[in-house]
């Protein structure tokens, strides 16, 4: 076993959350969609997919007008601003704006604007929007944030890494409030890429199911407002600990042994000061690919021991697609809402058990169960792993 950091980290408060997802344009519709088992996968309509093996995903069909100002042409920025609108409807940004930080994660940044830039011979504005950090700056401008503005890109673990960096900013007293989260959009660039890798399924997404055959992509943005514990008068929950690691194994596939994920999982639990017996729920990365789900299951069993069989483990990626940079933040938010309402959404698409995936994956119907401490695991291209330990309730 690899040596694991024993370092404890101070918990930070998660004051509120805001989202824009294919399940719904705000937190309430997102959560009700998850609990009632809505399937938001549909045929992609916004760009041509006729030449691809798979043309379905979790596409947001309509974006409502923003509360303030015109929507940006860059869709990635637009999704972030919609999530910010939702967040701001639930919490006020009370900090001095020089102490307000923005940390967002993305796998793709404004890459759709690069596609546009190459088609249209554009001016400087489109070229600038093609930079990965442009949407973060659009969000900072919307929030009038003048503290650190940081873009994280640990592929599909980005949303978790961003929340971890946000917590670090608070603990280092480099900010008083942090808006953290992740986003990504569906565009031809990413659909072509995953299609070529044959990672996309022509069937239903079935995380942990014996018949699982791949993932489908989705687009979304998810944001949380983080504050130091002593500064939060109310909270949705707490981020108890976080950790990241690299596989050092393969450019596109996870380490077959899951060593990097195990290291991150153990590190995050040590940082949070929680042991296996404290864990009530696991939100798995659960992409529905044959390799990922098997590796995650094996790692959870190694880290949690016998407790792994008693803890509900779910994946929400069949409901809204793999939303890449947004996924980890949306899943963290789901953990907190599950604790609040004492219900864990089911794993949509999971029907037939796989002997290699033998944990409790919350089949068919949501589970009414009290959860306090949750683990949220994320993996991404380039051997990126990130784990969050969350606690629900105020």
């Amino acid at each position: 076993m690899v040596p694991v950091s024993e370092a404890r980290l101070p918990a930070v408060a998660i004051v509120a959350a805001g989202v824009a997802t294919p399940l719904g344009p705000d937190l309430d519709s997102y959560w009700s969609g998850l609990v009632t088992g809505v399937d938001a996968i549909s045929g992609i309509e916004r760009f041509p997919v006729g030449d691809l093996r798979v043309g379905r995903g979790g596409e947001i069909k309509k974006l409502a007008p923003l509360r303030h100002g015109a929507p940006p042409r860059c869709r990635a920025s637009a999704l972030l601003l919609h999530a910010a609108d939702d967040l701001l409807s639930r919490a006020a940004l009370t900090a001095d704006r020089t102490r307000l930080a923005v940390v967002v994660g993305t796998a793709l940044g404004g890459v759709e604007e690069l596609e546009r830039a190459m088609e249209e011979a554009p001016g400087p504005r489109v070229a600038a929007a093609a930079l990965y950090d442009s949407p973060a700056h659009a969000l900072a401008e919307r929030l009038a944030a003048r503290g650190p503005v940081i873009t994280v890109s640990t592929a599909c673990a980005s949303g978790a890494t961003a929340m971890g960096v946000g917590a670090d900013l608070l603990n280092a007293d480099a900010a008083d409030l942090v808006v953290a989260g992740g986003y990504d959009v569906l565009c031809r660039f990413v659909m072509r890429g995953f299609d070529a890798l044959r990672s996309l399924t022509r069937e239903r997404v079935r995380p942990f199911d014996r018949r699982r055959s791949g993932l489908l992509l989705g687009e979304a943005a998810g944001l949380v407002l983080l504050a130091r514990e002593r500064d939060a008068s109310s909270r949705l929950g707490r981020l108890l600990g976080h950790a990241s690691s690299s596989d050092g194994s393969h450019i596109a596939a996870p380490d077959p042994e899951g060593r990097g994920l195990e290291h991150a999982l153990r590190g995050a639990m040590a940082a949070a000061g929680v042991g296996a017996r404290d864990v009530d729920f696991v939100s798995a990365h659960g992409t529905g690919t044959p390799l990922n789900d098997r590796i995650e299951t094996a790692v959870l069993k190694r880290v949690l021991g016998a407790r792994a069989y008693d803890v509900p483990v779910n994946s929400i990626k069949a409901a809204l697609g793999h939303t890449m940079g947004a996924a980890a933040t949306l899943e963290a938010i789901m953990c907190l809402l599950a604790a609040r309402d004492r219900v864990v959404p089911s794993t949509l698409g999971y029907e037939e058990p796989d002997p290699a995936c033998d944990l409790d994956y919350v089949p068919r119907v949501p589970r009414h169960v009290r959860t306090r401490v949750s683990l949220s695991t994320s993996l991404g291209f380039g051997g990126c792993n990130a784990v969050l330990v969350l606690e629900g309730g105020g």
Binding site: V2, P3, V4, S5, E6, A7, R53, T98, G109, L114, A117, M118, P124, A127, A128, L131, Y132, D133, R146, P148, V149, I150, T151, V152, S153, T154, A155, T161, V165, D168, N171, A172, F189, G193, F194, A196, L197, R198, A243, S244, S245, S246, D247, G248, H250, I251, A252, G260, H263, G267, A271, T289, P290, L291, R294, F381, G382, G383, C384, N385
Partner: protein, 287 residues
Amino acid sequence: MTRVRGVGVRTGWGEGVAALPADAVASAHGRRVIALARPALDGDRFRRATRECLLGVVAVEAMLRDAGLTRDVLSGSRTALVYVTAAAYGASNRLFVGADGASPARTEGGLIKEGSGSVRPGGGTLHFPYTAPSAVPAELAIEYSLRGGYVILVGGATAAIDALWQASTLLTSGRAERALVLAVETFAECEDLWARGRWAARGPLVEAAACALLDGAGDLAYGAVEEAAPLETLAARRAGETLACGPLIGLGLAREAGAAEARLTGHWRGRRTTVTLALCESRAPAH
């Protein structure tokens, strides 16, 4: 205070800060981009790696020489890797956008089957993973068996300051014993796009890869500032526009001057931040 054990720099001007001209603008003679050749590391292991991945490896090797360390010191879970870039994914992204009709790979047991799928430039199946900013640190993690804390930040010189702060945070909190901070910037393939964004990066655009190995722990001065530190001005004058590599080149210049401490600043998209680091003595023989 967090200490800098070693610094490695490779730029379009050559190896190390000693190769930097006194005045990058004058030395560019009107060239918009000062490019770096693809390093000659092409064995089977690196057959798919992009130029920027190989430049990252070259920078780490230079840092190890500077620190008088062997690569073994980096391996394992106690070395964190913090990668930063504003531009290095641009070439592979553009190539991928420009290519069309990649033939799909075959998979076996969930793993991509070697040799399957088309491999033509930009359209090859396995080109897609190299469009991610995580491709460069991934190749580095594989090469040096890095398995510790892992953060990738995207942005210009400000993001490099953020990366140094993040590395220091990992050290100070006990989550790592060493932290490798790496920046790579390439421009040649996207020269016309950067020309449209002159507001973001003034010429000459100088391709660079730079890294620093940090250890130690302690309070770190980090935050927003108005004025450029002398090292920022010096690095820009001598190296040219190197975006996220700028602060690390500044570290190299401070080290060359025999400074015990370096106050770094970096500017990007209207924001300037600062961080201060202690410098250990270089173990590399003087040139």
